[in-house]
C-alpha cells in the first residue's frame, strides 16, 4: 500500500475539505465550534474560521435570490469550491485548485498518441462532476458510519468529530480527482449480461444460501466486477458497488494472479476443495487467532436505518456480499458453516458463468477496433456501460480518450440536465472528433467518433448503426 505522503502528492488539486454546522457556534468568538472536520488539519485556526465564514456568507447571500436553492459552487480566479448540505445544517465543502501539473498516460496509440507527456494544465473543472464527487464522499461516509445526526444522538459532537476524522483522513487520500468524469455524475452500476438459465442458477443459489443461513438479511452477487443480483435498495447498492469495485476488489485482486506458491495465497493452499475465501473479516479462518470482525455498513438510513455486518466472499471472479444485522454476533462456527456451504457452490457457479461468458463472446465474433467509443446510462435502473473506460482500479480509472473530449461529454450532459425533454446534440471538436449525445426518456448515450472526414449525415448513420447493434430496443430521437 502506498503511504499517505505519496498519495497526497497524487492529489494536488484538492486544496481543502471541511465539514461544518453553522448552528454550533452562533456567537462571536465561538466560530471554531462550527468546524467539525478540516483538511488539511495544520491550517491555522483563524484561516479555517475565515474560510468557513466565506462559505456561510455565500450560501446566505444566494438565498436572497432563491431561498430554497442556495449556492452549490463558487468560482474564483485560483480555486473552485463546492458546497453540499448533506444533512440539515450540516455542510460539506470541497475546495480545488484551478490548475496543476498532470501526467497523462499513453493508453491507446490509436486514440491519444500525442498526449503522453507531463503537462501543466489549467483544468476546467466541470461543476456537475465535482458536485457529484462531493455527494459521493458523503454517501461513502454514511455507508460506513451512518448519518451525522445519529452520531450526534449517540455520542454528541465529540463522537461525530471522531468519526469524521477517522473516515475522511484516509478516504480523501484515496480520491483521484483528475480522473473524475461523467461516470461519477451518473454513479451507475455495470450489469453483467447473462442468459436466462445461468441467471436462474444464480438466483436459486442465493435463495438456497439465505434459506440455510437465516441470519442473512441481504445478498448481492457480482461477477467480474459487474452486478448480477442485489437485494439492496438502489441507492444503497450504488454506493456499495462503488466501494466494492474501486476499493475492495482492486485491493484483493493480486492473490488470484499470484502463482500457487506465492506467499500471497496462504489460505488457498490449505483448501483444495474450492476457491472460496473471505475478502472482509478473517484472512484465514483456520487460524486459531483469527478475529471474526466484519466491517459495519448502514443502509436504508431514511426509514428503517439498519446497521449490518458486511461479509464479502469471493471465488474466482464471482463475489457475493452477505449482509447480517449488526445486532447478531458472528462466530467462528457461522463463518466455517458459510465457507463450507458457499465455497464449493460458488466455485462451481463461477466456472459455469465463465464458460457461458466465453461462448457468448465467441458468438459475437472477434472484436475489431471500432470507429467509436461510447458511454450509456439509464437513470431508472442505474445501468451504465462504457467502452471509453479501460478498467477501474483503486488508483485511477483509465480512459482511452483525451480529457478534453471527456469534458465535452460533460458539457453535453449539462445541456441535457437543463431541459427535461428528449434531445440530441452532435458537435465537432476542434480536433475534428465528432461527439454525439442522445437523451431519450431516462436514458443517455454518448458516442465519440474518430472519423474526422465524415459529415453530419455520415456521423448520424454511424450512430444509428451503433444503436441498432447495441441498443436495438431503445428509442432515440432522430
Amino acid at each position: 500500500m502506498a503511504s499517505g505522503m505519496q498519495e497526497k502528492l497524487y492529489n494536488p488539486s484538492l486544496l481543502s475539505f471541511f465539514v461544518y454546522n453553522p448552528s454550533f457556534g452562533p456567537r462571536e468568538g465561538e466560530e471554531e465550534k462550527k468546524i467539525l472536520f478540516y483538511h488539511p488539519s495544520d491550517v491555522e485556526k483563524n484561516e479555517k474560521i475565515r474560510n468557513v465564514g466565506l462559505c456561510e456568507a455565500i450560501v446566505q447571500f444566494t438565498r436572497t435570490f432563491c431561498p430554497t436553492k442556495p449556492a452549490k459552487s463558487l468560482h474564483t480566479q485560483k480555486n473552485r469550491q463546492f458546497f453540499f448540505e448533506a444533512e440539515d445544517s450540516f455542510w460539506i465543502v470541497m475546495v480545488h485548485w484551478c490548475s496543476c501539473s498532470v501526467f497523462l498516460k499513453p493508453v491507446d496509440r490509436f486514440w491519444s498518441p500525442e498526449h503522453s507527456k507531463h503537462v501543466f494544465c489549467k483544468y476546467s473543472l466541470i461543476d456537475t462532476v465535482y458536485g457529484a464527487v462531493l455527494r459521493q464522499c458523503y454517501s461513502m461516509y454514511k455507508l460506513f458510519n451512518g448519518t451525522f445526526v445519529r452520531a450526534m444522538e449517540t455520542g454528541g459532537v465529540e463522537l461525530l468529530m471522531q468519526k469524521l476524522e477517522k473516515f475522511f483522513y484516509r478516504y480523501l487520500q484515496t480520491l483521484h480527482l483528475q480522473s473524475c468524469d461523467l461516470l461519477d455524475v451518473f454513479g451507475g452500476i455495470a450489469f453483467f449480461p447473462l442468459d436466462k438459465m445461468t441467471y436462474l442458477k444464480i438466483q436459486s443459489f442465493v435463495n438456497r444460501v439465505e434459506e440455510s443461513l437465516s441470519l442473512i438479511k441481504y445478498t448481492t452477487f457480482l461477477y467480474n466486477d459487474q452486478l448480477i443480483w442485489s437485494g439492496l435498495e438502489q441507492d444503497d447498492m450504488r454506493i456499495l458497488y462503488k466501494y466494492l469495485t474501486t476499493s475492495l476488489f482492486p485491493r484483493h485482486s493480486e492473490p488470484e494472479l499470484a502463482g500457487r506458491d506465492s506467499p500471497l495465497r496462504p489460505e488457498v493452499a490449505g483448501n483444495l476443495l474450492h476457491y472460496g475465501r473471505f475478502l472482509t473479516g478473517p484472512a484465514n479462518i483456520k487460524d486459531p487467532e483469527a478475529k471474526f470482525r466484519f466491517p459495519r455498513i448502514f443502509v436504508n438510513t431514511k426509514d428503517s436505518y439498519e446497521e449490518l455486518h458486511l461479509i464479502v466472499y469471493k471465488a474466482m471472479s464471482a463475489a457475493v456480499c452477505f449482509m447480517i444485522s449488526a445486532s447478531m454476533e458472528l462466530t467462528r462456527e457461522f463463518c466455517e458453516q458459510l465457507d463450507s456451504l458457499v465455497g464449493p457452490q460458488l466455485t462451481l457457479l463461477a466456472s459455469d458463468i465463465c464458460e457461458q461468458y466465453n461462448v457468448n463472446r465467441r458468438i459475437s465474433g472477434p472484436e475489431k477496433e471500432p470507429q467509436f467509443k461510447f458511454i450509456y446510462f439509464n437513470h431508472m435502473n442505474l445501468a451504465e456501460k462504457s467502452t471509453i473506460h479501460m478498467r477501474k482500479t483503486a488508483s485511477v480509472s483509465l480512459t482511452s480518450v483525451h480529457p478534453d473530449l471527456m469534458k465535452i461529454l460533460g458539457d453535453i450532459n449539462c445541456d441535457f440536465a437543463r431541459v427535461d425533454e428528449d434531445e440530441e446534440i452532435i458537435v465537432k471538436a476542434m480536433t475534428d472528433y465528432w461527439v454525439v449525445g442522445k437523451k431519450s426518456d431516462q436514458r443517455e448515450l454518448y458516442v465519440i467518433l474518430n472519423q474526422k472526414n465524415a459529415n453530419l449525415i455520415e456521423v448520424n448513420e454511424e450512430v444509428k448503426r451503433l444503436c441498432a447493434t447495441q441498443f436495438n430496443n431503445i428509442f432515440f430521437l432522430d
Binding site: 435570490f65 468560482h75 474564483t76 434531445e423 446534440i425 452532435i426 476542434m430
Partner: protein, 518 residues
C-alpha cells in the same frame, strides 16, 4: 475636461495597431459557393475596400482586457469636472419623464416576483454604495449590495478574485472594474463568459457618460461618493441596453446588421455623407431604426462595434432627438476611455426612422455639424437616392421564405471580416417577446458552446422537441440556423450550402461592401 481625443493617449495607439490589414480583394476572387476553407475576407458580406470596424479577429479578443489603465490627470479644474455634471444634467431633464414610463422601480425586493426576474444587474461602488439596479430601488437593495462588496473584498483579501457563484437554476457573476463592481444574477443558460461580457457592456455604458478618467477621479477624491447623483436620469440607457442584450443578436455576435438596400443607392448615400465632411468630424453614421445604412469614417480611425452599439443604445432609448438636433458629449470607451467626443444626433425627418449621427472631436462644433447635415441632405435629395432610401425603409427586413428552404425558420449569418451580420425578420412562432428572448437564448447557448474558452467547437447540431438548431464557425463566418423540429440532418446540411449561395447572391443588398472614408 474638453474632448481631448487627439491627446495621444496610450489606448489610442492600441486601437489602431497593424492587425487591421485592409482586405483588398478583387471582386472576381469571390467564389460562387463559399467553402469552409474560405480565406477570411472573401466570405459573403466581406467588405472590399477596407474594414469599417476595429477588428476583433474572434469573439475571445473582445473579452480579453487589453485596455491600458489611463493615468491621465485632468487638467486645470481638479474638482469634479463641471462639464460632466452639466452634461449629465442635460441628459437628465428629459429622461426624468421617461423614467416613470419605463421603470417599474417601486417593486418590493422581498417578493417572489422580484427574485424570479430572468436577469438582475447591479452596479455598485467599491465602498459598497448602490449605483444601479435593474429591478427594485437602489435604496431597498443597499444592504444586499453591501454584502456583494463584502464577498468581493473577502476573496480579494486572499489575493484571489471572485468570479461567479452557481446554484440550481441560476448563477451570480461578478465583474470588478475599478472603481466599480458589477454583479449579474441570471436564470438564463448563458455561460459565465457571456454574462461577464454583458456586464462589460454595462460598465462601458457608464464610462460612455462620464469617461473613465472622470470616474477614477471622482472616487479617488471621495471613496464614498454617491454616483447616482451624476448618473441620475441615465438609468433608462442601462435599462434599454440590457433589453438590447436580451434581444439583439448583434450584441451577441459582436456585429451590426444593415438595412437591405440596393448597392447603388447605398453607394450614393455613402458618397453624399463622405462629401459632407468637416475638419473635426470623425464618424458619420446613418441609421434606420436599429439598422445601419452606412458609416463613413476618417481615414485611419476605426469604430469598435461596442462603441457603435452604445451609440445605437443612446439613440434608441431617447425620444428627444426626434424633436430637433441633439448635441451630446459621449465617450466611446473602446476608442479612448479618457475623453469625450461630441455627437450631433438628428432625424432626417421628424417622422422618419432615419437618424444621422455625426461624431466630432470639438465641443464647439455644433453649428459646423448642423451645416454638414444640411449639405448631406441637400446632396441626397438632389439625386434619386433619397427616394430610393425611403422606399427601402418600408421593408427594413426580409422574410426567411425568400431563401427558399422549407423547415428553415430563422438564421444569423456573420461575416467575420466586415463585422456585419444579416438575419431575416422573426416569423411565427418567434414573434412574441417571450419567444423572441427564448430564441435568443438558444442562439446564446450555441454561441457559448462554439466559443467555449477551453473547448471551442467547429459545429453544433441540436435536435430538440421545439426546434432543431445548427451552428457552424469557420475562419470567415459564423452561421446559426433554426429549423422546425421536422427538419432532418440531411436537410440541414443541404440548407447550409443553399443559404450560403443565397447570401452570396444577395450580399450587395445585405452588406456594406464598399465602406468609405473622408
Amino acid at each position: 475636461m474638453a474632448g481631448d481625443v487627439h491627446n495621444k493617449g496610450v489606448s489610442w495607439e492600441v486601437q489602431q495597431n497593424g492587425t487591421l490589414a485592409p482586405v483588398d480583394r478583387l471582386r472576381n476572387d469571390r467564389s460562387e459557393s463559399p467553402t469552409p476553407g474560405l480565406v477570411e475576407g472573401t466570405e459573403p458580406g466581406a467588405g472590399q475596400e477596407s474594414a469599417m470596424f476595429v477588428h476583433a479577429q474572434s469573439f475571445e479578443d473582445l473579452t480579453a482586457d487589453n485596455e491600458v489603465p489611463t493615468e491621465t490627470e485632468p487638467k486645470g479644474d481638479s474638482v469634479l469636472g463641471e462639464s460632466v455634471e452639466e452634461e449629465a444634467l442635460c441628459l437628465a431633464a428629459e429622461e426624468k419623464i421617461q423614467e416613470d414610463l419605463h421603470r417599474s422601480k417601486e417593486e418590493d425586493v422581498c417578493t417572489e416576483a422580484w427574485r424570479s426576474h430572468r436577469k438582475h444587474v447591479f452596479v455598485l461602488s467599491e465602498a459598497g454604495k448602490p449605483i444601479y439596479t435593474r429591478y427594485g430601488t437602489e435604496e431597498a437593495l443597499s444592504s444586499t449590495m453591501g454584502v456583494m462588496m463584502a464577498l468581493v473584498s473577502v476573496v480579494e483579501a486572499d489575493k484571489n478574485i471572485i468570479r461567479s457563484i452557481h446554484a440550481d437554476g441560476y448563477k451570480v457573476v461578478f465583474l470588478r472594474k475599478t472603481p466599480l463592481v458589477l454583479v449579474g444574477v441570471s436564470r438564463t443558460c448563458q455561460s459565465d463568459l457571456e454574462l461577464t461580457r454583458e456586464l462589460q457592456y454595462i460598465y462601458y455604458q457608464i464610462v460612455s457618460l462620464l469617461t473613465l478618467t472622470q470616474l477614477n477621479h471622482i472616487f479617488q477624491h471621495k471613496q464614498n461618493y454617491d454616483l447616482r447623483r451624476l448618473l441620475a436620469g441615465s438609468e433608462h440607457l442601462t435599462d434599454n441596453l440590457l433589453q438590447m442584450l436580451d434581444r439583439d443578436p448583434g450584441l451577441l455576435l459582436s456585429a451590426v446588421t444593415c438595412l437591405p438596400l440596393a448597392s447603388s443607392t447605398r453607394d450614393l448615400v455613402s458618397s453624399s455623407l463622405q462629401a459632407a465632411k468637416a475638419k473635426n468630424l470623425v464618424f458619420s453614421i446613418l441609421l434606420a431604426g436599429d439598422r445601419l445604412v452606412t458609416l463613413v469614417r476618417k481615414k485611419d480611425q476605426y469604430l469598435h462595434h461596442m462603441d457603435l452599439h452604445l451609440l445605437f443604445n443612446l439613440v434608441g432609448s431617447s425620444s428627444s432627438f426626434r424633436e430637433g438636433e441633439g448635441w451630446t458629449p459621449i465617450c466611446l470607451p473602446k476608442f479612448n476611455t479618457a475623453g469625450f467626443f461630441h455627437a450631433h444626433i438628428s432625424y432626417l425627418e421628424p417622422a422618419s426612422d432615419l437618424c444621422l449621427i455625426l461624431v466630432s472631436t470639438d465641443r464647439e462644433d455644433f453649428f459646423n455639424l448642423s451645416e454638414c447635415k444640411h449639405r448631406f441632405l441637400e446632396r441626397l435629395s438632389r439625386r434619386s437616392a433619397y427616394q430610393a432610401l425611403k422606399e427601402a425603409l418600408k421593408c427594413p427586413s426580409y422574410s426567411v421564405t425568400q431563401v427558399g428552404i422549407p423547415e428553415l425558420r430563422h438564421f444569423l449569418y456573420k461575416s467575420k471580416s466586415s463585422g456585419l451580420y444579416t438575419s431575416p425578420e422573426l416569423s411565427l412562432p418567434y414573434q412574441s417577446e417571450e419567444e423572441q428572448e427564448r430564441l435568443m437564448g438558444l442562439y446564446q447557448y450555441l454561441h457559448s458552446r462554439l466559443h467555449h474558452p477551453k473547448r471551442p467547437l467547429r459545429s453544433v447540431y441540436r435536435c430538440g422537441e421545439t426546434e432543431n438548431l445548427m451552428a457552424w464557425v469557420t475562419s470567415g463566418f459564423e452561421l446559426y440556423l433554426c429549423f422546425s423540429p421536422l427538419g432532418t440532418k440531411a436537410l440541414a446540411v443541404a440548407a447550409v450550402n443553399k443559404l450560403l449561395r443565397w447570401i452570396r447572391k444577395e450580399e450587395d443588398r445585405l452588406f456594406i461592401l464598399s465602406p468609405l472614408t473622408y
